[in-house]
């Protein structure tokens, strides 16, 4: 089979854009920024994936979902993990950030990487996705999934997830 003449890069990207993130189904794996590149050869489509967190349980789901989607289109794929450059929240598309907030997850706050050494991270304003107040507080650096922290709103008193900056 000669894939290069049969399918286009646009087709490959459109298939990928229809695969939802297994844990946050409102955004696709492309919007999440984990799909780094695609290469179409004569025999197979190579897809490079960068996991968000090394222990993210969704990694295996990414692979299964990608394989299943391409199988439906009868396109053979090969998936490779790349760890450098390390995934960063800067790769989330702006569209994805809007979708996250609508879904109830506060998107990462720009230019406020939480990765400062020890206690130099400093305060930052995370907006409550429910009532949009910025009067919020960190409850725990670790939330329901590896990529999220737990916050609560001091105004509407609702707890919420924050997609933490890395």
């Amino acid at each position: 089979m000669n894939l290069t003449t049969k399918i286009s890069e646009d087709l490959v990207w459109s298939i990928l854009k229809n695969i939802p993130d297994p844990e946050i189904p409102v955004i696709s794996i492309v919007e999440l920024g984990v799909v780094r590149s695609i290469v179409i050869t004569d025999e197979v489509v190579h897809i490079k994936i960068t996991p968000t967190y090394s222990g993210c349980p969704a990694i295996d789901r990414f692979v299964d979902d990608i394989k299943a989607s391409f199988k439906r289109h009868e396109i053979p794929v090969e998936i490779e993990f790349v760890y450098s450059p390390a995934w960063t929240t800067a790769w989330l598309t702006d569209e994805a950030k809007v979708k996250l907030e609508k879904y109830g997850i506060a998107p990462p706050v720009e230019n406020s990487e939480d990765k400062g050494l020890l206690f130099q991270g400093g305060p930052k304003q995370v907006r409550c996705p429910q009532c949009k107040s910025t009067n919020t507080k960190l409850v725990s650096q670790f939330g329901s999934t590896a990529c999220k922290a737990l916050y609560s709103c001091n105004d509407c008193l609702e707890p919420f997830d924050y997609f933490k900056c890395i």
């Binding site: 090394s54 222990g55 390390a86 206690f119 670790f142 737990l150």
Partner: protein, 252 residues
């Protein structure tokens, strides 16, 4: 020793430390002092397991044959593990866990910072990824040490005891041998002595803020580079490897 053999040793030391500490943290699952903390401890466990998998995969490729991530984790005996002694220390009370982890987190923070400059691309990429995760662990555990040390009389006493008990395993983290020498000469490995002062300064700063005292004149246990362990690793492996030992090749 060939470069490949040294690289396998080197990767196992790092990956085994992550796996064993990850297993310790998994023991906390459903036993955390609060729900939020339970989730945090389990999250840390997941990060550590993920880190070990990346390097076990690399070791499998280097070794070839029928070595897999799973065979490395589940089919090696105690003396074939090279995890740092501090990582196998039992969880004890919450303070023991937090103090143990913090001392190791700070080590990892500086170690991965340096390792991300390795001439071995796989190790450098691994370090770059892991550094982001371990920074979160370090901050989380550092904040807890201050809360515990500068908390109630009881929490202060428990945190100080934790520090006194685990300090004897800190020098082992910085032990180097011919494996390190060979790889340092090729720009692959990190000279662990190069950041020991930074490690101490950061640790001391947090200990001081927590109104605790850095132990001194402590006998230092060593031996992880040769696979010599405390009595606790065997028990941990018994539990972790039970399923694969009793039902070989069992799958989901």
């Amino acid at each position: 020793m060939t470069k490949k053999e040294a690289l396998i040793n080197y990767c196992l030391r790092i990956a085994d430390s992550s796996l064993i500490l990850g297993q310790r943290m998994a023991e906390w699952c459903t036993n955390g002092p609060t729900l939020e903390e339970d989730i945090a401890l389990s999250n840390i466990s997941l990060d550590l397991f993920g880190q070990s998998r990346i390097l076990y995969e690399y070791v499998s490729e280097l070794k070839g044959g029928d070595t897999t991530e799973d065979s490395l984790a589940f089919k090696r005996n105690e003396r074939e593990f090279y995890n740092r002694l501090i990582t196998e220390r039992p969880n004890g009370n919450f303070g023991d866990t937090i103090v143990r982890n913090f001392l190791f987190d700070v080590f990892c923070y500086y170690f991965y910072t340096e390792l991300s400059k390795s001439t071995d691309e796989r190790l450098a990429a691994f370090a770059e990824k892991s550094l982001k995760e371990v920074t979160y662990h370090m901050r989380h555990n550092g904040e807890w040490i201050i809360r515990l040390g500068d908390g109630t009389e009881e929490s202060h006493e428990k945190a100080q005891n934790a520090l006194n008990n685990v300090w004897a395993y800190t020098d082992d983290m910085f032990e180097m041998d011919t494996t390190d020498e060979l790889l340092i000469s090729k720009g692959i490995a990190v000279d662990l002595k190069s950041f020991k002062d930074k490690w101490f300064t950061t640790v001391e700063d947090v200990i001081n803020r927590a109104t605790l005292i850095v132990p001194n004149d402590v006998f230092m246990h060593k031996g992880s580079n040769e696979g010599q362990h405390s009595e606790f690793l065997g028990h941990l492996l018994c539990e972790m490897q039970y399923l694969q030992r009793s039902y070989p090749e069992a799958t989901w």
